[in-house]
């Protein structure tokens, strides 16, 4: 019998070695696997290369991993945020290396790794400083840059629900990089709010089939819903986000439509 669920977060991140390349899902805080990152910090690995869209904000998750000095290099598109003080400090002090990749190339390079594509030509970044020293090629009158896959030892992502085969569904824009990162690592670990029985997920709506998933751990409703320790960003006026209303929280975690 296949059962990819593990008992706790410690087991979920077991075996991540010093120097490992770790993909971390999330776009800002949406979809960031904060509980897995906390477990990774507890497990003690260091000298990590992190592949993620951002480099953490505030004092938790990726930001905390960097603050703890565990990260040697970040591969991302957008490290700079109003609250990326931990990354900023480490970068300015020369304590970590940054590889900047345009967001779409980052996504496509991760997908290429998972899909067995050797390399591909992208039109993004042609004529910019990020094109310097790269292979250029003209195809049908347009110039492209050669882009190579980005692989990882481990992927850490956050989903809404999973079953014991490792099938995963996500919630709204928390999906972002998770489905492609799941395909690009030797070991893919998923935290979900809830593990459901096999067959409970609609086969037409499964976003990440279990073939890409090695370990699943349930973390309960995420922190911002569970205990009021809401950590969201700012609204359109730049004001801090309020925690969701109790009704919304209930609707969203009660096994409703999504």
């Amino acid at each position: 019998m296949i059962d990819k669920t593990v008992a706790d977060l410690r087991e979920a991140v077991a075996g991540i070695a010093d120097g490992a390349t770790v993909m971390v899902g999330g776009f800002g805080r949406a979809g960031q696997p904060v509980e897995l990152i906390d477990a990774l910090i507890d497990a003690g690995a260091s000298e990590l290369t992190i592949v993620s869209n951002n480099a953490g904000g505030g004092d938790l998750g990726l930001a905390r991993l960097i603050a703890e000095g565990r990260v040697r290099k970040v591969v991302c598109s957008f490290p700079r945020q109003t609250d990326s003080w931990h990354f900023d400090r480490a970068y300015r002090e020369g304590r970590l290396e940054l590889e900047l990749v345009p967001q779409g190339n980052l996504a496509e390079r991760i997908r290429a790794a998972g899909a067995g594509i050797g390399a591909f030509y992208s039109p993004t970044a042609v004529g910019t400083p990020l094109a310097e020293g790269r292979e250029h090629r003209e195809i049908d009158g347009r110039t492209y840059l050669l882009e190579h896959p980005i692989r990882a030892d481990v992927t850490l992502i956050s989903g809404l629900r999973a079953d014991r085969w490792g099938n995963v569904v996500y919630r709204r824009t928390a999906r972002n990089f998770a489905p492609i990162m799941a395909t690009a690592a030797r070991t893919t670990v998923v935290q979900v709010d809830e593990i459901v029985p096999l067959g409970a997920l609609d086969p037409e709506a499964i976003v990440t089939p279990g073939i890409f998933v090695d370990r699943v751990v349930a973390v309960g409703g995420r922190r911002w819903l569970r205990d009021g320790a809401f950590v969201g960003g700012v609204d359109l006026q730049g004001e801090p986000l309020a925690a969701p209303t109790a009704e919304l929280a209930t609707a969203q975690t009660a096994g409703g439509d999504r």
């Binding site: 700079r80 190339n105 042609v126 999906r175 969701p244 209303t245």
Partner: protein
């Protein structure tokens, strides 16, 4: 000064040019204001590169959902007809030319349509590009929405960009607080003048030999 459009008025002006049914990406920052000024009854489908089509306005306070954010990581809502997808699909949508329009901010736009909007090249700055380079080449039209001048009084419309480029020859139109410019094979052409602004003033401010589109003469 009163002849210049303020940010909201400019957003309204840009919004008026977006046709019903268009698929539009508003990037981050000021251009996202355009969403608030779309003509009532018009259906414009907003794309946010973090994986959504059919993005709605900011939620009421207390209805914020941290799993539902736009590219600027601000809270948004979901309209009926919305769809979610992952990042590779989202940027494939963009890179594949399926969006009708991207509206972006800019540090500089050259008369050949080159865009500089991701870095001022300051040596001590932490570089961050995000989706800027993908957006710059990722729509049938790329409009820039910006003040004509920097805070220091320099023209953002230039012969050649001095800042690091985001994309080559990608901008098709520039909406500024003083005028609207099309990027044409002959350089910038003024499409519309706001308030009492004149072509000569614009030539002086930009140092560029601007032309006037026939359309503009009519509309005055």
């Amino acid at each position: 000064m009163t002849d210049r459009l303020d940010r909201d008025a400019l957003a309204r002006r840009v919004a008026a040019d977006i046709p019903d049914g268009a698929y539009v990406n508003l990037g981050i920052g000021a251009p996202t204001l355009v969403a608030d000024h779309l003509p009532p009854g018009s259906e414009v489908i907003l794309h946010t590169e973090n994986g959504m089509l059919g993005m709605g306005p900011a939620p009421a306070p207390g209805d914020v959902d941290p799993d539902l954010v736009n590219a600027g990581k601000l809270a948004v809502t979901e309209l009926p007809g919305a769809a979610y997808f992952h990042h590779a699909d989202s940027f494939g949508m963009m890179r594949g030319g399926h969006l009708d329009l991207c509206i972006l901010g800019a540090f500089q736009v050259s008369q050949t349509g080159d865009l500089a909007n991701w870095s001022t090249g300051a040596p001590d700055a932490i570089p961050a590009v995000g989706g800027a380079m993908d957006l710059a080449i990722g729509a049938k039209d790329v409009y820039v929405m910006t003040d004509l001048l920097t805070k220091g009084g320099e023209s953002k419309l230039v012969e050649t960009c001095s800042y690091p480029l985001t994309g080559l020859g990608c901008v098709t139109r520039v909406y500024t607080d003083r005028a609207v410019f099309d990027v044409t094979p002959e350089g910038f052409a003024v499409r519309e003048l706001f308030g009492t602004t004149t072509l000569d003033e614009l030539r002086e401010l930009t140092g560029l030999s601007l032309t006037l589109l026939p359309l503009t003469e009519e509309s005055r």
